[in-house]
């Protein structure tokens, strides 16, 4: 085992495997592998379960998430990817982790009770006015919501919550936008749409880790 810093801040790598340093030593919430090395404990981050991990392995040179950042995370689900973001930002960063579904949010709450830098919010990402009073401005917005109008939701949240000069990361799921169209066509449409309003700085498709998904990073200018 030869785990070394990757080109991404606070993410580690051993060939095709990614790791973060566990903020809650000895505890794993998703049956992920824990590897003790010296005083550090690494958590394995599976690119088949996390689009962010897939994006890193597909060559995103920078995910712009740094220690102590405030992250607005839309579509947190059970909290798999949020838990790794939680490792990256460390105990002085915070994630506002939002999801719409009571069932998944229930799992998320259990995670938040163990990881005090994740703040759970149950709300609809399409209606930012309804959670405007539960969050603050963010350094980073991360969105993975599997909705037909996901690009529009993304922009709305950027306009309201992303700090000037901040970065936003979007996981695009082609199938929830239109199952009849070719994913490539949809990715281009989303990209063109976003380029009209912001500055797209990275674009990757996520095969073979995630089928029919793409990852887009924008900068708030």
């Amino acid at each position: 085992m030869n785990i070394n810093p990757s080109k991404i801040f606070d993410v580690y790598q051993d060939r095709n495997r990614l790791y973060t340093i566990n903020l809650t030593p000895k505890q794993s919430f998703f049956q992920e592998r824990l590897i003790k090395k010296g005083s550090k404990e690494f958590r394995e981050w599976d690119p088949r379960r996390s689009k962010l991990a897939a994006a890193i392995l597909k060559g995103c040179h920078n995910i712009f998430i740094r220690k102590n950042d405030i992250v607005l995370y839309l579509g947190a689900s059970h909290g798999y990817t949020p838990s790794f973001v939680s490792d990256i930002i460390g105990e002085n960063g915070y994630i506002f982790a939002l999801d719409l579904a009571p069932r998944t949010t229930r799992d998320l709450v259990f995670l938040c009770e163990k990881r005090k830098n994740i703040i759970p919010i149950m709300a609809d990402a399409n209606q930012p006015n309804l959670y405007l009073d539960k969050v603050c401005q963010a350094d980073i917005i991360y969105q993975d919501v599997a909705q037909r109008n996901q690009a529009e939701i993304f922009l709305k949240n950027i306009n309201l919550f992303l700090k000037p000069g901040g970065y936003a990361l979007l996981a695009v799921k082609a199938r929830s936008i239109d199952i009849k169209k070719k994913p490539k066509v949809i990715f281009n449409e989303v990209r063109t749409f976003l380029e009209k309003h912001t500055k797209v700085i990275d674009f990757k498709t996520l095969e073979p880790y995630q089928k029919d998904h793409a990852f887009i990073i924008i900068k708030n200018v």
Binding site: F96, E113, I121, L132, C136, F161, I179
Partner: protein
């Protein structure tokens, strides 16, 4: 001109002037937040003209709260609020969905158990298993009767049967499985009665129109009564056929015409099944809306209309 802005969040209610905090009332607990109007009125009275922040002012305020000293409170209040929202989200349709899912699982479980029970018992009394088609009857009788009785009733002897006379220890194990299968059927029946009871209270129109099983499956497939009530009837018609529909879109396989509603007797007995399914889906949509908005009970009437419309 100095505009004052009033902004309330989960932490408290605040007045800003010229991008500076002028006044605040911090919420002690979540209750204060849920009663926020009371506190807002206090500050509004004190400052007379206060405005709702927009655009740049709002951006400033949201950035203002991006401050280390607020995060503990953000965490605690949001955690508690989320817990309460989750609790409040539990409705009768969650119970209906759990029950119908459980019934479907018990069906599968009962099938597995009975298949094994028959295989196993056929080493011992194969002619008996073959002589009774009805599953529950078989389970009941194999527990009740002994080998001698059964052979006699089937006009068999120890010489003519293919079954081996097993020891008591061997037979006891078969009977223990029979007992388990019987209780699985019992539990399923109990849940069916319960399902009908909660549906009568929560969605009487759907219950009357579809019966508990199909009605509950539709709610389950939609995800909630609310969603079922918002679906157009063309979607209702296809609920339960999602897999086939997806295959159709992806590979061009034959498109499904209907889902669960084809299990309905009115559709099964109809001459023109397509027409019957459409008419039924229309009425189900209506019934779901009535139930969701706690409207009148009209399903008896709707059912009559349907029966007239669908000539059998």
């Amino acid at each position: 001109m100095n505009m004052k802005h009033l902004f309330t969040n989960i932490l408290g209610t605040f007045v800003f002037e010229n991008n500076q905090l002028k006044d605040q009332i911090l919420f002690k607990d979540l209750k204060d937040y849920l009663d926020k109007e009371k506190f807002e009125q206090k500050l509004t009275k004190k400052y007379k003209k206060v405005f709702e922040p927009k655009d740049k002012d709002l951006e400033f305020i949201l950035a203002f709260f991006k401050d280390k000293k607020y995060f503990k409170q953000f965490y605690q209040k949001n955690l508690l609020l989320t817990k309460q929202q989750i609790k409040q989200s539990v409705q009768d349709d969650n119970l209906i969905i759990q029950t119908i899912s459980s019934i479907k699982e018990l069906d599968r479980l009962a099938n597995v158990l009975i298949k094994r029970l028959r295989e196993w018992s056929e080493l011992y009394l194969p002619e008996f298993s073959k002589s009774i088609q009805d599953q529950e009857k078989f389970i009941e009788l194999i527990q009740k009767k002994n080998r001698k009785q059964i052979l006699k009733e089937l006009k068999l002897t120890e010489e003519t049967t293919m079954g081996k006379a097993l020891t008591k220890t061997d037979i006891d194990e078969i009977l223990a499985l029979a007992k388990q299968a019987a209780s699985t059927y019992q539990l399923r029946r109990k849940q069916e009665i319960y399902l009908e009871k909660i549906m009568k209270k929560f969605c009487p129109n759907i219950l009357e129109l579809c019966g508990s099983t199909i009605g509950a499956k539709l709610i389950e497939a939609a995800g909630s009564l609310k969603r079922l009530a918002t679906f157009p009837s063309s979607t209702v018609q296809l609920l339960g056929a999602e897999k086939a529909l997806f295959r159709h879109i992806k590979t061009g396989a034959k498109s499904p015409k209907h889902g669960y509603i084809k299990e309905h007797l009115l559709v099964q007995n109809a001459k023109e099944k397509g027409k019957a399914a459409r008419a039924l889906a229309d009425k189900i949509s209506l019934a779901a809306r009535l139930d969701f908005f706690k409207g009148e009970f009209k399903a008896k009437q709707m059912r009559k209309e349907l029966e007239k419309k669908i000539k059998q």
